[in-house]
């Protein structure tokens, strides 16, 4: 029972970490970044480089953020900027971008599965149960990311401009806010967050050029039903992640793998705009 509860909490935390970057891009720019998966991959390879250079594991996420953020900003400047008025084309373009990044990663590091040593291994005793220490650490990481994200959005000048652009872009421009710059920075931060997610999941995942892909659909669905707010994203990760764990445990892991996609489709049928303003 305790194991089940811990499975649900940690699964929700990992889903949250993986989809946060997608949420910020969708919230501000109203486009879906289908290259999200490759930025997760970029982050994982940044962690690989960090471990090969012998840097302490704590530095892997910041390095990943830097790599993902810079590549993301460059991609915004070169590709995404031209497509804000054409959200459908943006999906195609970011999908193409993900293929390009995937191939570049393959060229640089090869096709094979890479190994990054886990910063902590083994289990800790919690409420009388042996549980994976790293998965528990992911809960802390999710809380830190959520806190930083909220702080950035509500406590800084950039956050204020960002919220203005989210609410009414034309009005924000009229007030002298450089919305092009806001978008550039937001896209960079979103990609950087995806890369952090990649670096954080490496001890639980295999590092290979396609590793991000298995996370993309789940993250996409969660962001769609959350409707663009951080709080509802957290909630949907908890509810859908929890149902996924329950389905996997009590019915079959094969059905469990479908849970998020199926339930998200049903939820969107009932509430196409998501649950942000419920």
């Amino acid at each position: 029972m305790i194991t089940l509860a811990l499975d649900i909490i940690t699964t929700a935390a990992i889903l949250f970490i993986v989809s946060a970057g997608l949420l910020i891009v969708f919230g501000v720019m109203k486009i879906i970044n289908f290259a999200h998966a490759s930025f997760i991959t970029v982050g994982a390879y940044a962690a690989l480089v960090a471990s090969r250079l012998g840097l302490p594991p704590v530095l892997a996420p910041p390095l990943a953020f830097l790599a993902g953020g810079l590549i993301g900003a460059a991609a915004e400047r070169l590709v995404v900027r031209r497509l804000y008025g054409r959200p459908l084309d943006a999906i195609l373009a970011t999908w193409g971008l993900s293929i390009v990044i995937g191939q570049l990663v393959t060229l640089a590091f090869g096709r094979e599965v890479q190994f990054v040593a886990a910063p902590i291994s083994g289990t800790v005793m919690i409420l009388g149960e042996d549980y994976s220490g790293y998965r528990l650490l992911m809960v802390a990481a999710a809380i830190v990311i959520a806190a930083l994200f909220t702080g950035l959005l509500n406590g800084t000048r950039l956050g204020l401009s960002t919220r203005a652009v989210i609410m009414n872009e034309t009005l924000a421009q009229g007030l002298g806010i450089d919305s092009t710059r806001v978008r550039l920075i937001t896209f960079g931060i979103g990609c950087g967050l995806a890369a952090i997610a990649g670096a954080l999941i490496t001890p639980l995942a295999s590092v290979d050029p396609n590793m991000g892909l298995s996370w993309l659909i789940g993250a996409f669905m969660l962001v769609m039903i959350s409707g663009g707010s951080l709080l509802t994203l957290g909630l949907s990760c908890f509810v859908l992640g929890g149902l996924q764990v329950l389905a996997s445990t009590f019915i079959s892991p094969i059905l469990g793998g479908l849970t998020i996609a199926v339930l998200a489709a049903v939820a969107l049928r009932l509430r196409p705009e998501g649950f942000a303003r419920a």
Binding site: E112, V113, R135, P203, A205, S206, S248, I254, G257
Partner: protein, 389 residues
């Protein structure tokens, strides 16, 4: 239009049969077709297979070839799947007109290629371990089937570790389910009990609930059969992160993957017909020759690439026994000859399959595989009762 096309097809067919019937000149090389997955799922292992074939051909050519003729390789990419295999087999058999096909492939690619092999009546040596019971009068197999790979692990866990309760985890596809179905039957037969059997889709990466179930059933041993590469790595990492320290037999891991998984792979048991640590003169000579030929480019020889090397020698032996490269004669001889290679003495005499010496190995802290026990001449069982010899 239709008439003239079918007429020209007929002409082409007649022309090609006539060409085939013309005895090859002594100077013509003997062509060995190697359809292999240079792209797709097998692309990680395919280069090592091609290297093995190249070494065998070079060695044989340096000693005068086969029946006075040189050997030549024709490598074709089958993209690791059925559609690619059809193209690859078609072009090798009917355009390049190879004398023999020798290759390691996915089961999907093999099944797609077999009808083309039958149409061309070309001898085909399949050098990949697989789920068993694929039968064709034109195909010989010199790698293992479940009957040979699974018993060493189960018997060892049963006898040496006292394991009675087993938990099985696999990827949801033909090879994963096929291997574990055999494993389950074998465990039942040998007095053990399977307390759980769970599968995840091939692209799944979250094993959380399966691992929780594994821990709650408290088995004595764990046996897994995932797809190679990513699923195997994610499962092993998550098992280690969850503190699972049971005897852990992995039916899908090879030495290269084990090395890639680093410390997480330590302690895993595997069963194979080839590991680099085989302590024989033939294996040491082979490894030294590979090192000399490929140097820094060398892909570590493995259980999928070494059978390719031996199969080229098996073809040489069969052609020499038959006294010609005529396909029907070579096919008959393939079941009668035996070759000495890195894996020992191998003949494909059991219903087109080969009795093999199997090695039970355990991954060490540095990623190398230590042979714990060897099981000489494990019989492949009744794979193809309808095929003679």
């Amino acid at each position: 239009m239709t008439l003239s096309r079918s007429f020209s097809n007929l002409l082409a067919a007649v022309a090609s049969t006539t060409l085939l019937a013309v005895p090859a000149l002594a100077a013509d090389p003997i062509k060995i077709g190697v359809p292999v997955g240079l792209s797709g799922a097998n692309s990680v292992v395919a280069p090592s297979v091609v290297q093995s074939a190249q070494l065998a051909v070079d060695e044989i050519n340096a000693k005068g070839g086969v029946l006075g003729r040189q050997l030549a390789l024709e490598v074709a990419d089958d993209a690791s799947g059925a559609a690619g295999a059809q193209k690859a087999f078609d072009s090798l058999v009917f355009q390049k007109k190879v004398d023999v096909l020798i290759s390691m492939e996915t089961s999907a690619a093999r099944n797609a290629g077999l009808p083309i092999v039958a149409r061309g009546k070309v001898p085909y040596i399949y050098t990949s371990f697989y789920e068993g019971k694929s039968c064709s009068p034109f195909m010989y197999v010199n790698a293992w089937v479940p009957e040979q790979q699974v018993p060493p692990i189960v018997d060892y866990f049963n006898k040496e570790k006292g394991a009675k309760k087993f938990f099985l985890i696999g990827s949801d596809y033909a090879f994963g389910r096929g291997m574990l179905a055999f494993t389950k039957a074998y465990i039942d037969k040998t007095g053990g009990k399977v307390v759980g059997e769970e599968y995840l889709p091939m692209d799944g990466s979250d094993w959380t609930s399966i691992i929780s179930k594994l821990k709650s059933t408290a088995p004595d041993a764990l046996i897994t059969s995932t797809a190679g590469g990513a699923p195997n790595v994610t499962l092993t990492k998550q098992l280690r992160a969850a503190g699972v320290a049971l005897p852990y037999g992995n039916l899908a891991v090879d030495e290269g993957t084990a090395k890639g998984m680093g410390t997480d792979a330590e302690g895993i048991y595997l069963s194979a017909s080839y590991v680099t640590g085989i302590d024989s003169a033939a294996n040491k000579t082979f490894l030294a020759a590979m090192q000399k030929k490929f140097g820094a480019e060398l892909k570590t020889p493995n259980d999928l690439s070494v059978p390719e090397y031996e199969a080229v020698y098996a073809y040489k032996a069969a052609a020499e026994k038959a006294g010609s490269t005529e396909q029907a004669k070579v096919l008959k001889a393939l079941g009668e000859v035996s070759v000495d290679g890195p894996r020992g003495k191998i003949d494909m005499s059991k219903q087109h399959h080969a009795p093999l010496t199997m090695y039970l190995g355990q991954v060490q802290a540095d990623g190398s595989v230590k042979v714990i026990k060897s099981f000489p001449n494990v019989d492949p069982g009744a794979q193809c009762p309808n095929l003679k010899s």
